[in-house]
């Protein structure tokens, strides 16, 4: 799954550590989501969307494989 997390974070000039503190997850988790190695759970995706004041589909989009 592709996402805009790195871009949104950069727009706010937050480090990965800043974002991880705001989301209550580890910096490793933020990095894994940004690099597309890990797809967040639905509650975490909602949390991210709420933090950036966007809808989930504005941040996350399927990579075209059909499996999300």
């Amino acid at each position: 799954m592709k996402n805009q997390l790195r871009i949104l974070r950069a727009e706010r000039e937050w480090s990965q550590a800043d974002l991880s503190e705001r989301l209550g997850v580890s910096r490793q988790t933020v990095n894994a989501i940004e690099t597309g190695r890990y797809d967040p759970s639905l509650p975490l995706a909602f949390h991210i969307a709420k933090l950036f004041e966007k809808r989930i589909e504005e941040i996350f989009e399927p990579d075209g494989s059909g499996n999300g």
Binding site: E21, G24, V25, S26, Q28, N31, A32, R37, Y38, P40
Partner: protein, 135 residues
């Protein structure tokens, strides 16, 4: 006020420290038992042999506490580590059981004290593989 991340890190550190204490006490108990002579039914020897159990229980307690505070990726990594380690442990024990049916195994090479050490190695190896996947 301690943040969630700091709290998680603190619990992880505590578990790690107790893990180190456990390893030291395990090898300490082994050395002490070797210096006490040949194995024999002696209460003192049994108590010395069980000393590493105390730090191990503390380690488990702290590790469970760490897992309860862990975020979703850490839980997934631990699950994947177990998904690697458990089948490996089953394979090891099954192979030893089958080979033992075929031929007697030397207890100086393949007793409980030798075999159990593979289990944490499998677990740590599984963790390394799972962690690398998400880096």
């Amino acid at each position: 006020m301690m943040t969630e991340t700091a709290n998680r890190s603190s619990r992880g550190t505590e578990a790690f420290v107790w893990g180190i204490v456990w390893v030291i006490s395990y090898f300490g108990a082994r050395m002490a038992l070797e210096q006490m002579g040949e194995p024999q039914p002696d209460l003192g020897r049994i108590l010395v042999a069980l000393v590493p159990l105390l730090p191990f229980v503390a380690f488990l307690w702290k590790f469970i506490s760490f897992m309860r505070a862990a975020d979703e990726l850490e839980r997934r990594i631990q699950l994947e580590a177990l998904a690697i380690a458990f089948p490996l442990a089953m394979v090891l024990l099954m192979v030893l059981a089958l080979v033992q049916l075929a031929t007697p195994l030397n207890p100086n090479d393949w007793s409980y004290r030798h075999v159990w050490q593979f289990l944490p190695v499998f677990w740590l190896g599984g963790q390394a593989i799972a962690r690398r996947r998400y880096q």
